[in-house]
């Protein structure tokens, strides 16, 4: 199996993407709600990822 090298950002985006798909699929009752919730979860993941990334960068000086 090929070895894969991803940056922190790429790995976290992929993790967020697949987790958001599953959270959307299992949580809501209609397809429109599932899509909306999945997109919202992904946006929250991204906001946390970028926000925490900046926080750590600023914290390190």
């Amino acid at each position: 199996m090929p070895k894969m090298n991803l940056s922190h950002f790429e790995a976290a985006v992929l993790f967020a993407l697949f987790s958001s798909v599953v959270l959307g699929v299992i949580t809501k009752r209609t397809d429109a709600d599932r899509l909306r919730y999945g997109v919202r979860c992904f946006a929250y993941f991204m906001a946390a990822l970028i926000g925490l990334g900046w926080l750590m960068r600023l914290g390190h000086g």
Binding site: P2, A11, A12, L14, F18, V22, V25, I26, R29
Partner: protein
Amino acid sequence: MATDQAKSPSIGTWAPVVGLGWLLPGGGHFLLKRTGRGTLLLVSVLSMFFLGLMMRGAMFQPQTGDILTTIIYCGGFLGDLASGLLYLLATWLGYAQPDIAGHVHDYGTKFLVGAGLINILAIVDAYEIAVGKKE
């Protein structure tokens, strides 16, 4: 008591769904004819698991010691095991990556556990559909 028994669903209605859902991610949904959702779950869990393998993530082995060690290693092992056939096949085919330093390996380990954890969510969803709590 008789009322409680009448309310609780029989094991035959949910056990095959839960069992297949554990072995094959999304399998419970396929059994319940929710193929679209089952496919999305299958693709997500498979992708996370194979990305974890390609990043050479480590599989957890159950260890006991202080409380944190027990939680991390036993919990991680259960998370890995929750991927079902994917975990069993990878183990049987000899995948035994040592836990080494590096952010890619570390992400790989988390992807492998994450695949199992989202499969648990899928199994719970399939169970709720099987017993009529959800559509």
